[in-house]
């Protein structure tokens, strides 16, 4: 396999540092990923050579900035195999993308008694925007249950779908458990009852292949910072015809065609949904991150990450007093667990002393924690720059945690 993890690690300056006297072991990639040098360079280069406002200037830098910004849009389009670049709307991230759909689509189309269907696996950011729109429209939120492994129960999902279902909003990959949902099948089932489908792709984009034409979803939301790009940039994919029919989300400059005090007209998509000066530098850096991943080869990355998951799961299975939370058949490289009698926050503090960064808590999925009857979990989420040696170090440190509490 043409995958050299040492070479990959050299691309990430942050991984070279020590934390609490130990070489950093960064296993919190589901919270945010680290940035390779090409991404940092893209940012610096943009601000050193190109920085200018887009879509309005006739001067050289403005045109260069516009070209680079639009090229980044095309990179995103190709990365998820969208039909057209104008189907990509840049925004702050997945949360803003979901809110955009909830407000600009949901609020304007939902009526009292209509239903929005989500799942028990959702992140708060794919729950609360829908609760808000339910309050605004009188629509009802329905929740598809999961089984003990942390997989959506497809028969229950099917039962919950009806002619009342207008929107289905499901994550592609669970941030707490790593479960990969069968989004293509779920989209097909939702379309059969006439519902529109939004896929929350925050955890998926970096770890599984995303082909929005194949999934056939109506919307796909993603965050740059979970895919090795900066925080504060992300995108919403939407089918062109649906986006065109939608009302704007926010209003201001960039999103207009003409403005008069009597009536203003809106720009065509994607600008219609990009009010105000966009985050040009971070969009370009996002493009650089996706290009970097494509160059390494997404199949190589996914294959390697799967090896890491198998390795970590095997160790976890043989670790006394450890219970894995989330054992779906189809998973990305997330290992969530609890240790008998030791609270995840204490585990997290002690691991930090060993230079190991994991996430502990409810991971913005409180209903899911309730399902598994745990107040919180420890979550080790791996990326393609992690190594088997780091996983060994994690389990070695976990033994120290248990020693401490003996």
């Amino acid at each position: 396999m043409s995958f050299n993890v040492d070479k990959i690690r050299a691309d990430f300056p942050i991984l070279q540092q020590q934390v609490n006297g130990k070489l950093l072991v960064y296993l919190d990639n589901a919270a945010t990923t680290q940035k390779p040098k090409v991404v940092l360079d893209a940012l610096i280069n943009y601000y050193q050579t190109t920085n200018s406002n887009v879509h309005r200037g006739v001067h050289t830098l403005s045109m260069q900035a516009t070209d680079a910004y639009e090229a980044a849009r095309t990179t995103c389009q190709k990365f998820i195999n969208a039909t057209e670049a104008r189907e990509i709307i840049f925004c702050r991230g997945t949360t803003e993308a979901i809110n955009l759909v909830a407000q600009a689509y949901g609020r304007n189309t939902l009526k009292t008694g209509d239903e929005i269907l989500i799942s028990q696996l959702e992140h708060h950011s794919n729950i609360v925007p829908w609760q808000l729109v339910c309050e605004q429209t009188g629509a009802i939120l329905k929740v598809a249950p999961i089984n003990e492994q942390g997989e959506i129960m497809m028969s229950e999902y099917q039962t919950l779908l009806s002619s009342k279902t207008k929107i289905v909003a499901i994550n592609h990959v669970s941030n707490s458990l790593g479960t990969i949902n069968p989004v293509k099948e779920m989209t097909m089932m939702a379309h059969a009852v006439g519902a529109k489908v939004l896929i929350d792709g925050a955890q998926a984009l970096a770890h599984v292949n995303v082909d929005v034409q194949d999934i056939n979803c109506d919307f796909y939301a993603a965050s740059g910072h979970k895919v090795y790009a900066p925080m504060g940039i992300g995108f919403l994919y939407g089918k062109a015809a649906i986006l065109e029919a939608m009302q704007p989300y926010q209003a201001g400059g960039e999103m207009i065609q003409t403005v008069s005090f009597l009536k203003s007209t809106y720009a065509p998509i994607p600008q219609k949904f990009e009010a105000g000066t966009p985050n040009v530098g971070d969009a370009i850096a996002l493009g650089a991150a996706l290009t970097y991943l494509t160059k390494i080869g997404r199949e190589n990355i996914h294959h390697y990450e799967h090896e890491l998951l198998d390795y970590a799961t095997q160790q976890a299975d043989n670790f006394p007093g450890l219970r894995i939370i989330g054992t779906a058949k189809d998973k990305i490289s997330i290992l969530a667990f609890v240790l008998d009698g030791i609270h995840p926050h204490d585990v997290g503090t002690i691991l930090d002393h060993e230079g190991i960064a994991v996430r502990t808590g409810h991971h913005c999925t409180m209903p899911l924690m309730e399902f598994f009857k745990v107040p919180a979990t420890v979550r080790a989420s791996m990326a393609f720059y992690n190594t088997k040696q780091e996983i060994d170090e994690l389990f070695c440190a976990l033994r120290k945690v248990q020693e401490m509490f003996e």
Partner: protein, 156 residues
């Protein structure tokens, strides 16, 4: 302590002192009070720690204090030590201790805190800003209970 435990650096042992581990594993006063006069619920929205505190006060004196809930070692030990400490204190003393304890964790751990006695085992938490709220949850809840505040005490 075992050999492996010895290998952990001192600051960690300063945080997780034997007393704290002991109270976390075997919390004292875990349960409910029969003649509750004051109670409050505590919640840390950041980590989901929950605590329910019941107190019996008679003639301005704390006769009994018990707690229930889920939390980390720091939060459980803090609640356990607090309820032990409260017995037979009068309300004014308890209010003063709340102030002094929270001050120890957020302001001045190095200053002597003679009034806090055994509670000073928790002073090390000061060096772990992410964990200070774990240690103060029980105390914010006590503060709410003494003030008979109906609302849920929150660390936020």
């Amino acid at each position: 302590m075992s050999q492996l435990g010895e290998q952990l650096r001192d600051p960690l042992r300063e945080l997780y002192q034997e007393v704290i581990i002991d109270h976390a594993r075997n919390p004292r006063n875990f349960g409910t009070v029969s003649n509750v006069t004051h109670h409050a619920e505590g919640f840390n929205p950041l980590c989901g720690d929950q605590l329910s505190l019941e107190v019996e006060i008679e003639n301005n004196k704390i006769k009994d204090a018990k707690f229930k809930g889920t939390g980390c070692a720091i939060s459980t030990a803090s609640a356990s030590l607090m309820t032990q400490f409260l017995k037979d204190k009068n309300v004014g003393e308890a209010e003063q201790i709340v102030k002094e304890f929270i001050d120890m964790l957020t302001q001045s751990p190095k200053i002597e805190h003679p009034n806090l006695g055994k509670l000073t085992v928790l002073a090390g938490v000061h060096d772990y800003p992410a964990r200070v709220k774990c240690a103060t949850l029980a105390w914010h809840t006590l503060d709410a209970a003494l003030k008979r505040e109906a609302k849920i005490a929150s660390t936020e």
